[in-house]
């Protein structure tokens, strides 16, 4: 990503074109809000984070030659804002403690009593997916699978893999131990893996 000095304009004026596109900015804002809500679960804080990120990005927007560079930049700022908000919330408010499920039934079904993969859930071959080439339909499946994670797993997973917070930050924010965090990540990955496999990478024929 190249960021030119302020006041720089794109040689062909391309950059200005998408910024003036109200529909594009509106859609981007919607997606950012959705993303921020997943992390912050507080509409006002999500709104603030998006507002600040978008305003900050727009101030330097003319440096960007195209939409995807701009979007990457906006999201980088948004992730920082979310991390800030989480830290701030931690300092000012009570800890939101996610109760760890007492029953780990969602995990045990992946393995049999001896700790081996249960037949119906063992990993199949995924081919060698090229992440760059995954299309729109895949991303819909991905979002659906994310939505189906239990809330505690989904939140921790996204803080770790989307916002890219360090594990210690996540633990402090949510008020769980590092051991709990690793358990939640393991469960989230098992579940997500299973969902992506069943709905995309190796959909099962009607299981007999």
């Amino acid at each position: 990503m190249q960021v030119r000095g302020e006041g720089a304009t794109s040689p062909d004026g391309q950059a200005a074109a998408f910024l003036a596109d109200g529909v594009y900015i509106g859609e981007l804002r919607e997606r950012m809000l959705k993303f921020a809500m997943l992390q912050l679960s507080d509409p006002q804080m999500a709104e603030d984070a998006v507002q600040e990120a978008l305003a900050g990005a727009l101030r330097n927007a003319r440096a960007f030659a195209g939409r995807s560079a701009f979007r990457t930049w906006v999201y980088a700022i948004l992730r920082n804002k979310i991390a800030d908000q989480l830290r701030h919330k931690r300092r000012t408010a009570n800890l939101i403690s996610i109760p760890l499920g007492t029953t780990d039934d969602d995990e045990t079904s992946y393995f049999d009593a001896r700790g081996h993969w249960s037949v119906e859930n063992q990993p199949s071959h995924w081919g060698n997916p090229e992440v760059d080439l995954l299309g729109k339909d895949f991303w819909r499946v991905f979002e659906t699978c994310l939505d189906h994670l239990p809330p505690d797993q989904g939140r921790v997973f996204m803080m770790r893999e989307f916002v890219e917070l360090e594990t210690a930050e996540i633990c402090a924010e949510i008020g769980i131990t590092i051991t709990n965090l690793h358990v939640l990540m393991h469960r989230a990955r098992l579940r997500l893996r299973n969902c992506l496999e069943g709905h995309w990478f190796a959909p099962k024929e009607t299981t007999s």
Partner: protein, 65 residues
């Protein structure tokens, strides 16, 4: 010998923390003889790349430029 549930736990942990020598050795030994867990290891790495890609492209998958 380590079981698949423990091996997948360590394979997941490895993405979030360093493993001890003992854990790392145990995991490698298990993976040597278990193709299903080898798949799991590759797939959770794929899931990580997918997640990063998702954030960068904000769910449309491909860049528009």
């Amino acid at each position: 010998m380590m079981k698949c549930d423990e091996a997948t736990k360590l394979a997941s942990d490895r993405l979030d923390r360093g493993l001890s020598v003992r854990e790392s050795l145990g995991l490698r030994l298990h993976l040597f003889g278990c193709d299903k867990c080898r798949r799991f290891v590759r797939q959770v790495q794929t899931i990580r790349s997918i997640s990063r890609h998702y954030v960068e492209t904000d769910g449309t998958g491909r860049s528009e430029d």
